[in-house]
Amino acid sequence: MSRIHSPAELENIRKRIQSERDPRKTCITLCSGSACHASGSREVARLLIEEVERQGLSQTVDIRRTGCHGFCERGPIVVIHPDEICYFHVQPEDVSEIIQKTILGKEVIDRLVYSDPQTREKIIRESEIPFYKYQVRTVFGSNGSIDPKNIDDYLAIGGYAALAKTLFTMSPEQVIEEVKKANLRGRGGGGFPAGSKWEGSRKAPDPIKYVIVNADEGDPGAYMDRSLLEGNPHAVLEGLIIGAYAVGAHEGYIYVRQEYPLAVENVNQAIRQAEEYGFLGKDILGSGFDFVVKVHRGAGAFVCGESTALMTALEGRVGEPRPKYIRSNIKGLWGRPSVLNNVETWANVPLILNHGADWFIQFGTEGSKGTKIFSLVGKIVNTGLVEVPMGMSLRDIIFNIGGGIPNGKRFKAVQTGGPSGGCLPEFHLDLPVGFDELTQAGSMMGSGGMIVMDEDTCMVDVARYFIEFLTDESCGKCVPCREGLRQMLKILTRITQGKGREGDIELLEELSETAIEASLCALGKSAPNPFLSTLKYFRDEYEAHIREKRCPALYCKELIAYYIDPEKCQACMICGRKCPARAISGAKGKIHVIDQNLCTKCGTCFEVCPARFGAVRKLSGVPIPDPIPEEHRTIIRKRSEQ
């Protein structure tokens, strides 16, 4: 492929690609994102290709390995176009049946289609499944239909049209104006208006400027940026090039975690292809605009997701943040004006330029426009990535799309905003999700992680977990964060171990206040949030731990005991055999008893005891009943009278 020299040439190539593709031709798409790889999609792909060849179908059937479809709970996902037949949990042994029955026989395999957990109704088409039906997938939607390793796929769906339009029909100022009008706010956590950030850099006098993609997605439980970069890297690149033009930058960086090898691979390949086609490099599309982009792999430090720390890391140094007396869009990387935006923010840019700001602002609330991708994880039926218009309520996201809480458990809280976010309880379920709404409720949007918790989750432990995470990830530069968090962790750990004292809550509050006031960067400033929000909504749990030495959720190891209910034990020996500590005595026909001195509280007995017996119980805050005497342990089974 030679370089494209003008928008007209680009349109000709696009037409050629589109005309070579018959929309009626059978195309098997297979999700090949990281999560599906983990559930075996590589093997499925290999077998699909083999089987199609064996059946002599190579000419009539296309196989396309796409990015993440979002419904990770049911991966690997196969969708057969044009009928849009959607198969879930496809295993290697299903492949030959799919080819035989569905491709050759035009027959749907019942076992593999979506079955509604409640109504048992079977749904064949992807777009009719509730998980997808309630979403608005403007940014994420193409993931399931294009091969990220093939730029032609992106061109076929209109890729780089926004870039051509921008370079030839708009001035940089007009681009900034459009982005400002769309009120595009940063999707990485801050929610800062992208247009204003760009404008600041544009106006900065320094002639050398940079644009940067922040793909150092560190929030545990959030993986939308990875899926975008893996599944649709050209959308991010196109956004970045447009941003560079608007700002006046000729060099850009993509900072991506090395823990995301597939994202690194796909984005590198996308850059090579974009260079070949002339979307990157000198004189892009014949416009005279030059721009190059480099990929920098992050070496694993959560704090590097913070803008100034990321820029320091890009310079090849230790990623420590610096005070922001001067914003980095004025003085950032190498001391030059640098615009840093998150992956999802950049991916929104081509959409805004293509469809116009007016189209964009039809989605969302007053202060938060457009859509947002959330990763819905934790104790939820449909784990996955969902894209919804801003302003949808938490309830709609968790129950309509997410399918609610598994195993008939009760919803307790949803944690949003990553480690620096907060937990929102049940009475906030009708809260519309937006930047300002979440902040007002004591949490935040963050990068869009949404971790659902049920009645078995201990909120004190959740706070301890996040503070531990942040203590570990604190870079150590400023005292309030480095030392303050360490002390908070110490106190929280002691509370979960049943060694909490009166006054601990107040002490934690004081430490929180100091960290918020005096920390250097957002990591420390927002670190106390998980504690403060859980305290605000679940104070009773803290008090139960401290005063009664009881964990209401029956989670904290030091505060619970496992106990076998002699009334329910059927003496089946399953727990006895599985117990790694050999703490369970008993025999066939003899009620089992846990030796509390030997028990390590690993929970294996609780996990393996058959649900129909439900004999193993967790106790907290109550004395453990004495084991029943040896002579009463024999079970006399009633013989069924037949």
Partner: protein, 150 residues
């Protein structure tokens, strides 16, 4: 890892000091740790003081200054895995292998690390061994999976 290979990696990055982290990452991913002679070579060729290299090698999680075991175990402690019982999985791994996170056993069989989210939240709790993901782990399954490696 011999000097020639180290030089190759450095040359791939034009021996630029700003590429220090990228060079160390390449060495780490090939050798699975950062041997002392490699760091000395990098310091010499990039003209970067050893103290700065040491600072970087200890700051970022991806780097190890000690050799790794034959099998690298990563336990995901991301939030989604945490609420689904990752702690219990970690406890089991520690019991079975006798090592704590960050350690390698004396026979160099296992190295244990914890990670904050592998992005396979649908499969949580997740244990990754040598790049292979084992999902929906329970304490009893964890012990069974570990037995398959020797």
């Amino acid at each position: 890892m011999d000097l020639r290979r180290i030089d190759q990696i450095i040359d791939n990055h034009q021996a630029e000091a700003s590429s220090l982290i990228q060079i160390l990452l390449d060495i780490q991913s090939e050798a699975h740790w950062l041997p002392k002679h490699a760091l000395e070579r990098v310091s010499e060729r990039l003209d970067v003081p050893k103290t700065r290299i040491q600072h970087i090698a200890t700051f970022y999680k991806a780097f190890s200054l000690v050799p790794k075991g034959k099998h690298e175990i990563h336990i995901c402690l991301g939030t989604a895995c945490h609420v689904r019982g990752a702690k219990q999985v970690l406890d089991t791994v520690q019991q079975v292998t006798g090592i704590r996170p960050g350690e390698t056993d004396l026979e160099l069989k296992f190295s244990l690390e914890t990670v904050n989210c592998l992005g396979c939240c649908a499969l949580g709790p997740v244990m990754e061994i040598d790049g292979k993901t084992h999902g929906k782990m329970t304490p009893s399954q964890t012990a069974a999976v570990l037995k398959q490696y020797d």
